[in-house]
C-alpha cells in the first residue's frame, strides 16, 4: 500500500536539500552572532594586537632596554593563539558551505533533467521555485565570497563584518524562500507560513549547533564564550527550537484541522474526498515521527546549551549536530508526508 511515509521517502532528495540548505545557511546566521555580538571583537582586537605586539617583542628581543614585563609576553602568546583560532574558524567555515553544497547536489538528484537546470531562472518573479533558486545562488555567492575573502587573512574586520552580515541576510532570504515555495493554493496542508517558520527554526537551531562545531573545531569556542556570547547564542538556539516546534507541530495540527467532522468545512474548502482521506491517513501515520522530531529538537537544544554553559566538548557538540540533523530530516519527512493536493 502506498503510504504517506512512502510518498515522503520518495521526496528524500528534496528533504535532504531543505535540511542541509537550511542548516548550512543558518550556520552563517549564527556565525554572524558570534562575530558581531558576543566577544568576537575581542578576538579580532587580540588578533591585531597580537600582530603588533609580536613585532614589538621581536624588536625588544633585539635588545630594547624597555622590554615589557611577563604579562606582555603572555598576552602575545594569547594573541598568537587567538590569531590561529580565527584562521581555523575561517577554515572550518567550510563545514556549512559543504552542507549547502551537499544540499544542492541532493536537489539535483531530484530533477529528471539536471542538465537543463539553468532554465530554472526563467521563472523568476512568477515561480516561487525560481525565486528560491535565485536566493540560493545569491546566498552561496555571498557566502563563498566571504569565505574566500577571510581565508586570505588580509581583509579588515569591518569588511568581514559587512560581508558576513550580507551573508546572514542572504541566508535568511534563502531560507524564507525555500519555505515560501511550498505555499501553493492547491496544496492545502502546505499553504501556510508554517513551512517558513519551521525552516527558519531549523536554520537557527541547527545553525547554532553547527556554529558551535565550527568554533570548537577551531579551538575557538572557549575563547569567545563571554557571557554576552552565551546569552546571544543560546537565545538564537532557543528561538530556533521554538520556531521549529511551532512550524512542524503547527503544520501537523493545522493539517488535521482541515478535516473536521463538519462536512461544511470540507465543502467550503472544497477539497476532494481523496484529499480529506489523505490527510487523515497521513496524520495518523506520521504522529510517531512528530513526537520523535520534537524530542530530537529539545535534545539538540539541550546539547547546545550544555556545550555553551559548561566546558565545551567536541564529542557533545558533534552529537548535537547529528541529533539536530536527524531531527530536522524527520521534520522534513513529516512535512512531505503531509502533502495532500486539494483535488485528485
Amino acid at each position: 500500500m502506498e503510504t504517506a511515509f512512502n510518498h515522503a521517502l520518495g521526496e528524500m532528495p528534496l528533504a535532504l536539500f531543505s535540511t542541509l540548505a537550511s542548516l548550512g545557511a543558518g550556520t552563517f546566521i549564527a556565525l554572524t552572532i558570534a562575530f558581531l555580538c558576543g566577544a568576537s571583537h575581542k578576538l579580532v582586537a587580540q588578533k591585531s594586537s597580537a600582530t603588533q605586539d609580536g613585532a614589538d617583542l621581536a624588536k625588544d628581543a633585539k635588545g630594547n632596554s624597555d622590554a615589557k614585563d611577563g604579562k606582555d609576553i603572555k598576552d602575545a602568546a594569547t594573541n598568537a593563539a587567538n590569531a590561529l583560532a580565527l584562521r581555523k574558524t575561517d577554515f572550518f567555515t567550510l563545514i556549512p558551505l559543504l552542507l549547502v553544497a551537499l544540499g544542492f547536489v541532493a536537489a539535483f538528484f531530484h530533477l529528471a533533467t539536471p542538465g537543463n537546470a539553468f532554465n530554472a531562472f526563467n521563472g523568476i518573479g512568477r515561480s516561487p521555485m525560481s525565486n528560491e533558486i535565485l536566493a540560493g545562488i545569491i546566498f552561496v555567492a555571498v557566502a563563498v565570497i566571504y569565505w574566500i575573502a577571510v581565508l586570505t587573512g588580509k581583509i579588515p574586520d569591518i569588511i568581514r563584518k559587512i560581508l558576513l552580515a550580507l551573508a546572514c541576510v542572504a541566508a535568511v532570504a534563502f531560507i524564507v524562500l525555500i519555505g515560501a515555495a511550498y505555499m501553493v493554493s492547491t496544496i492545502p496542508t502546505w499553504d501556510t507560513p508554517l513551512p517558513i517558520i519551521a525552516l527558519l527554526g531549523f536554520g537557527l537551531l541547527g545553525g547554532t549547533l553547527f556554529c558551535l562545531l565550527v568554533l570548537q573545531s577551531a579551538d575557538n569556542l572557549q575563547k569567545i564564550c563571554s557571557a554576552a556570547f552565551k546569552r546571544d547564542i543560546i537565545g538564537l538556539g532557543v528561538l530556533g527550537a521554538i520556531f521549529a516546534l511551532v512550524g512542524v507541530i503547527g503544520q501537523f495540527v493545522f493539517a488535521g484541522s482541515l478535516v473536521s467532522s463538519d462536512a461544511s468545512v470540507l465543502a467550503s474548502g472544497a477539497m476532494s474526498a481523496m484529499a480529506a482521506e489523505g490527510i487523515v491517513t497521513a496524520t495518523a501515520e506520521m504522529m510517531p515521527w512528530v513526537i520523535a522530531f520534537a524530542i530530537g529538537i529539545v535534545l539538540s537544544l539541550l546539547l547546545a546549551v550544555v556545550s555553551v554553559i559548561r566546558k565545551p566538548n567536541q564529542l557533545l557538540i558533534s552529537l548535537g549536530c547529528l541529533v539536530v540533523l536527524a531531527s530536522v530530516l524527520a521534520g522534513r519527512l513529516v512535512f512531505y508526508a503531509l502533502y495532500v493536493n486539494v483535488g485528485l
Partner: protein, 206 residues
Amino acid sequence: MSRYAFHFDGTRCTACKTCVFACKDKNDLGLGYAYRKVYEYGGGETIKDANGCFSTTAFTYNISLACNHCEDPVCVMVCPTGAMHRDQATDLVAVDSNVCIGCGYCVLSCPYNSPKVDRDKGHSVKCDGCTALVANGEKPVCVMACPARALDFGTPDEMQKKGKRANIAPLPSEGYTKPNLFIKASKDARPAGSDEGTVTNPLEVL
C-alpha cells in the same frame, strides 16, 4: 479567456475508457502512463434485510478528464523554467520538453492529477489537448473516439452551453484553477468536496 475547453457529458459516459486508450495509442504510451483518466466515484450501501430483501442507496458515476487547460493554470504559475506554458496558437497548456528540468512542481500543484514526470524521458508529460490537431481544425483524439459521444471540445462559450464548469466530486472546487472542463452532470453527481462517496477505482487511475 482561453480559446478552447473540453466538455464531458456525465449522463452519457459508460466508463468504457476508450478515450483513455485512444490517447495512449496516439501518444505511444506504454505501462505507467495515461494522459486521460476515468475516475469512478461512488458510495451508498446495498443491504439485505431480515426477509432477505434488498434496498440500496448505491450511487456511482464517472468523470473522464485529462488536462483541463485551466484559465488559471497553477502548473504554469509555479513552473521555474517556463516549460509549462500556454501554446500561442491554441491557448492549450503544454510542456516544452526541451526546457523542462523535471522538478515535479507541476505534478505537486495540479489539482487534477494531470502531469507526471517521466524520468525516462527526463521531463513532465501530460495531455496537450492534441495541440497540432486542434491547430489544424480537428478535435482531440479522445473526443472523436468516445463511442457514447460523451466528450466534446470547442470554445468555452460553446462548451458552456452544454455544461457547467467542473465542480463535482471527486474534483475540487472550480475556484482553484478555473478548469476549462464543462460537465453535464449525471443525476448521481455530488458537489465538489462531498464526502458522501469516494473514488472507487483507485487501481485504474495512473
